[in-house]
Amino acid sequence: MINLVFWFFVILIVLSAFSVVLNKNLIYAAISLLLTFLGIAALYVFLWADFMAGTQVLIYIGGILILLLFGIMLTHKITSVKISHTSVQKGIGGAVVLVLFIGLLWMIKITPWKMESAMEPEQTVNTIGTLLMTDFLLPFEVASVLLLGALIGAAVLARKES
């Protein structure tokens, strides 16, 4: 049963990711991206990363995807039917990416991955919070400054010049 759920999400991710890169309609591509993010959040649950799964849904689906949809809506005239676009160099790009993918598969296959068994933790939030406040305090603070900078920068850039 649990295997069935896992493979369902894997197939969901693969199909929706293909739809993201190939769909002619940008809105459909964005909705497919939602399904991809959802599937990845599900895989995080399978990887015992409960907090990361929640963060993925909150930030990617609730934040980034909504921003992307706003971007699509603001840069197309809603009245014009053509909310679509084309791709260029599909043949060469596809060939390059296919070669890269096969190379990655080969690398994954031949590498002797060193694995360690572990017990499933009850929750990860506690450890993440402790680590953020001790070992990773400096990156944590730098990230907050970066977010402030991005906030101000985005607001200044997006405003029309008066």
Binding site: N3, V10, V14, A17, F18, V20, V21, L26, A29, A30, L33, T36, L43, Y44, L47, W48, A49, M52, T55, Q56, I59, Y60, G63, I64, L67, L68, F70, G71, L74, T75, H85, T86, Q89, K90, G93, V96, V97, L104, W113, E116, A118, M119, E120, P121, T124, I128, L131, L132, D135, F136, P139, A143, L146, L147, A150, G153, A154, A155, L157, A158
Partner: protein
């Protein structure tokens, strides 16, 4: 599903598809979607390695910072794209060749 390679293969596929979108898409927002796919592939790898490397939470922290950076990146990129749209009336990346009109 208790197998590291499955996750790595999914992440490799996501990375390749994201790169394909970055290479071939003309619309700047579609290119951004490709970048998001690539970042998600990296995150999936990080968390898979955390899980199969003895449940090391440091991998989760790294993925968390990637998500934070992705949020900042998308906000700034969309602001730039909106500016390009105001200047050129189009956001096709192959048409925007000048910084200023």
């Amino acid at each position: 599903m208790d197998n590291l390679q499955v996750y790595l293969i999914i992440a490799a596929l996501l990375f390749s598809l994201g790169l394909f979108a970055v290479i071939t898409r003309r619309n700047a927002i579609a290119v951004l979607m490709g970048v998001e796919l690539i970042l998600n592939a990296a995150n999936l790898n990080l968390i898979a390695f955390a899980r199969f490397g003895g449940m090391n939470i440091t991998g989760h922290i790294f993925a968390l910072f990637v998500i934070v950076l992705a949020a900042a990146e998308v906000a700034v990129a969309l602001a730039i794209i909106l500016n390009i749209y105001q200047n050129f009336n189009s956001i096709n990346v192959d048409e925007a060749q000048q910084l200023k009109q």
